[in-house]
Symmetry: C2
Subunit: 369 residues, 2 copies
Amino acid sequence: MQDTIRKIESVRPEFFERAQKRLDNLTKPPGSLGRLEDLAKQLVAITENTMPAIERKVVFTFAGDHGVTEEGVSAYPKEVTPQMVFNFIRGGAGINVLARHAGAEVIVVDVGVDHDFNTSPSPLLTNSRPDGAAKGGLGGVFLSRKVVRGTKNMMKGPAMTKDEAQQCIQVGIDLASAYVQKGYQLFGTGDMGIGNTTPSSAIASVMTGRAVADVTGRGTGINDESLKRKIEVIEESIRLNSPDPADALDVLAKVGGAEIGAIAGLILGAASHRIAVVIDGFISTAGAIIAYGLEPKTRDYMIAGHSSVEIGHRAMLEKMGLSPILDLNLRLGEGTGAALAMLMIEAGLRIYREMATFGEAGVSDDIVN
Amino acid sequence: MQDTIRKIESVRPEFFERAQKRLDNLTKPPGSLGRLEDLAKQLVAITENTMPAIERKVVFTFAGDHGVTEEGVSAYPKEVTPQMVFNFIRGGAGINVLARHAGAEVIVVDVGVDHDFNTSPSPLLTNSRPDGAAKGGLGGVFLSRKVVRGTKNMMKGPAMTKDEAQQCIQVGIDLASAYVQKGYQLFGTGDMGIGNTTPSSAIASVMTGRAVADVTGRGTGINDESLKRKIEVIEESIRLNSPDPADALDVLAKVGGAEIGAIAGLILGAASHRIAVVIDGFISTAGAIIAYGLEPKTRDYMIAGHSSVEIGHRAMLEKMGLSPILDLNLRLGEGTGAALAMLMIEAGLRIYREMATFGEAGVSDDIVN
């Protein structure tokens, strides 16, 4: 992990300027394509390539379970986590549909699910390849990188040991390296884990310094009473474990989750390889703020995909100075917002690459005032 | 025009309910895909088909010039309008790039450009087909439907006669019918016309009742002094012509534009054929509010593509009760925001059509609280 972090550099302003020059010569009023132009500039700066291309895109959906679900913080039973993993593999989930729409592949990674997929009597996992990947047709590729079988209940002690937390981060770092080598040029983050808005709110509170009640929402849809309980559970977990906001690994271990750690690792890995990474919603942003806590320069490589319905999301984005591309009232996770945002990122890149310049088009670029 | 308006019916709530039933049975927490679900429901209600499909999409970019440009209201000379029409035909403009990205075709329609394209020595227009269309490779198809050679200067009298305004609307109505017959299932609106934020702000002020200064922005990028002049020009034009807000055709004729009228007509035509129409930004919304003034039921068929930087845009959307899908600081027009929004509309439709149900996926749908 430390080796990866040491490799991360800030992007250089001169590449924004070089991209700006090209954008200002395209047949449109300067700046009139707003955010699309910003995205193109960021890709140029990240890749240090004045004509970047994105041919292969991938969304990583990291899955994990959470011991704290025994406190009744989620609307769904935790059995839904492995059930949804199978749904991802078959291609029937929201992320499968939206990734297909965006032309991205889906990689489903078990980092911490409380289910043994190896002994599952599922035909979906039988065609495993030596690297641990199983092709699911139009569905996602499954990778087993299990670090824990669910986290421990953080109301009663740390969710993970520091060593386990570091292993989860390493899963993300290693996948980033592997997929850079395979030729992927844009990463998206995603999550699946019943109960995982609870550790995400805990991380949001610790890392932004805001009150738990100000960063805790209804997740998949709990009622008023359960929300009150959820806030109490998070407050008590933070009080009991005293995570240190200056030590993001400590925060991840004590009140985090396995999939959140892997997301943080993917971002660290992406940044170390100069690859842009699209952050999905609330849980992914909890992973992002852990990466940011470990190395603030990771921020230059992040693109916030969308603004989640979860109230704690914006607090974390503001802390990192990120502005989300989309605002569509999404609260599904899985990487769905990241996949949709990829369509806008590619739109920006295509504008930058494909539009005619004033000279090419014979259009007057004299502004009359 | 009146025949078309008489055919327009409100969409029926029962189709929203039928779509909701399917959405609630998909493997996700109810409502968790927010706006995407709303878009799917709207498409079901518009088409009265519980499994709608979108296979062919088209953006119409209507072009026209504006006599009021002689008052110095725009940052660009009006020669740029025909230059950009040629750019659309060659495929080098922003709308070409984004329509390609969205899988939509671009139809460029001359409704009121102050340039004679028939005698232009351009090889691009030589392969005209009998229906007046010329194929431009990866570019747009050009259609000549000229009603006026630029509008008259509205500071000195009406921009068009009422008959001319009605002819412009008819251009849009006829294109809607023609492209429904060709099998297109989703329309987008777009505009090109140097100076056309000026009539659009005039329409916004008259139709919403707000002060001219509150709905007038910098268009393609004028300075403070020109903005002050632009506001005075609009105020004087409204004072001189006294357009009647209760008579949208009167407003279009006196302070509107040819391309704005064609956009209004396209929307009327789309609604009469139960086709959804994606409204681009400020100028397209000025066209939409003319259509809405002629027949408020058109609103059910409109999808607001994005929120423009132009300050008058939101006032018109609010008047019609529309909420834009995207907010990307765009202010280019041409249909660029509509093309981008089509990607989100299709995302919603694909979620609706392609996601697995709880039963199909073997996922528990018991919510525990």
